[in-house]
Amino acid sequence: MSTLEQRLQRLPPSLRPLEHERKGSGRLWRVETVALLLVGLLLAIATVNDVVLGTHTNHRLVADLRTWRTYTGNNYKNVSTEQDIYHHTTTDVVCGNTVPGPPKERVQICLQMTGPVVRGHRAARGGWYLPANTEKNLRRYRYGCFGTTKAQGACPR
């Protein structure tokens, strides 16, 4: 028996290391299994919830892009979308060039979409313009607000 093992033998029986697990009542195994099942259930619910959220979001985004193209009459590929991820509303903003050109290098028109998807489209209640070469849709760059966004004070002037 090595020195280490001799020292370990001096520990109280409940603290001594074991070569193999004792065949006990299985209470610990049951507690662990219940905990694992509960964690698994939480992860499963969170995953399904995320898939549903993501699916709704995708559904909405497809409708938003379609609505922007219908309202503006421009069938551009490069149209940017922004979602209200902080307040969990379904209000999204879709921006794209008013005339053909590289993405964001022309004056952009932004439409604010709200409400449910009806026949593949959503309602555009208002919007604003952004100057050419504006990378981010920040309030300070916006002008010419129209529709509900005007009353909301979405534009600085």
């Binding site: 370990l8 969170a46 379609r66």
Partner: protein
């Protein structure tokens, strides 16, 4: 003996014989499904850059005329088909011969090997760090790939990683250095070969360890080698996690052979490739309680630190700083992010990182106590690796492969069930684009 008693076992025997008859047919059909799904992903991926295929030099151009550009829908259907085939294959594993299983896994590896880099730009980061060291005389622990913006590999590095110094261990960085001398295409093929050889080593050692523990080695081999995340994500992306897993299995095999010192030194070597595998060491030491292990681990660590310091300076030794930096990253696929969404939060916050670290510490302490009391250290190590991936806010498919080889040889069957369940949830989460309307 009465007639009723005599006739009772017959239905069971008939069922068993019918199952035995069906097993080879089911296994054959599942194997075809796996091969077809892999071929579909590789052939479509070879067409070129898409949302799933990173920008890459044309290493698989000769395959490009057959498929169509790989989109989410086809990819996810192929992954689901692969997963279904995998489940069927595991169910029929008892009827599968050793030669048949090895042939199937070799074929899957070969298909992925000849194809393009799938789903990740990580391999280009590995090559960029190697080229920084051998071609440009820069330290990859102090500079990101942006420092070699004029190098041809820079174009292929993922946008999130261009300014980030390497977080991989110094042994891995040194292993990758010779690849940096091979040119971009040569380095990619070299990395693919390294991933394939690492995978072969992992699988061979899983087989060996399963036999030592009296577990069906064919089933163990199929569980790891035909796993969809293993084949498509880890092997497809030529990830260095495969090298880490190979070293992990070398350490386990050495422990089973009673070579405790070598095993501990190998775990340290693995941790100097990718730090995660260090999780095995405390469980191994607690289970074996051998002074040789502690001394060998310390000696290997000291040697690794000296080499790292000599080649990379103090930044090459300070892996903890790099790990802390990476631990703050957040991916949409991580379970903490999903739970945050479930509770109406937009994502994880700094306090959540602290809570997750606390949860991980509690789990590891519990596992250490259990190992001290005789619980299987291989299972405890697997649980620790699984807990690391589940509590991480930066979760990628190949992270949930870490515990798999341990799970198939562990004495606690719950670990395998939990690992596969986590993988199922990960794949389920990937399927979101499938349910969106077609544009």
């Amino acid at each position: 003996m009465n007639v009723a008693a005599q006739s009772e076992p017959l239905p069971a025997r008939t069922r068993a014989s019918s199952a035995t008859q069906w097993a080879p047919a089911l296994a054959g059909a599942c194997a075809l499904l796996l091969l077809a799904a892999t071929a579909e992903i590789v052939l479509d991926g070879a067409v070129g850059h898409s949302a799933l295929i990173p920008k890459s030099p044309e290493i698989a151009g000769w395959l490009s005329g057959i498929g169509e550009r790989l989109g989410f829908r086809i990819f996810l259907i192929a992954v689901l088909a692969f997963s279904a085939g995998y489940a069927g294959l595991i169910a029929a594993a008892r009827g599968i011969s050793k030669r048949w299983a090895i042939t199937l896994i070799a074929a899957l590896h070969a298909i992925v090997f000849v194809g393009p880099i799938l789903l990740s730009t990580d391999v280009f980061s590995y090559i960029a760090y190697a080229r920084m060291g051998v071609e440009h005389g820069l330290n990859p622990y102090t500079h990101g790939p942006v420092a070699i913006a004029h190098d041809p590999i820079y174009h292929y590095v993922g946008p999130d990683w261009k300014k980030v110094a390497t977080a991989y261990g110094p042994i891995y960085t040194l292993i990758s250095y010779p690849f940096g001398l091979l040119g971009v295409n040569g380095a990619i093929w070299g990395m693919k070969l390294l991933a394939m050889l690492s995978s072969a080593a992992t699988l061979a050692l899983t087989w060996r360890c399963a036999r030592v523990r009296g577990i069906d080695p064919v089933r163990a081999l199929l569980l790891v080698g035909a796993n969809p995340l293993y084949v498509i994500y880890a092997l497809g992306g030529a990830h260095n996690d495969l090298l880490m897993m190979a070293l992990m299995m070398v350490a386990v095999a050495l422990t089973f052979a009673g070579r405790d010192g070598s095993a501990a030194a190998t775990v340290v070597a693995g941790a100097l490739v990718k730090a995660t595998v260090a999780a095995l060491l405390p469980f191994m030491i607690l289970a074996r309680r051998s002074l040789a292990q502690v001394l060998a681990a310390l000696a290997a660590l000291a040697l690794g630190a000296v080499v790292a310091y000599a080649v990379f300076g103090v930044d090459g030794v300070n892996i903890v700083a790099a790990l802390n930096r990476d631990a703050a990253f957040v991916s949409t696929d991580s379970f903490p992010t999903e739970i945050a969404h479930l509770f109406g939060k937009p994502g994880v916050f700094p306090i959540d990182h602290d809570l997750l670290k606390a949860a991980l510490v509690i789990i590891v302490l519990h596992l250490l106590w259990r190992t001290w009391r005789g619980y299987d250290w291989v299972a405890a190590s697997g649980w620790a690796l699984l807990a690391i991936s589940v509590t991480s806010t930066w979760l990628l498919a190949w992270y949930i492969l870490w515990p798999l080889p341990l799970a198939v040889i562990a004495r606690d069957r719950r670990l395998l069930v939990a690992t596969l369940a986590i993988q199922v949830l990960f794949v389920l989460h990937q399927t979101t684009p499938l349910w969106a309307p077609v544009k």
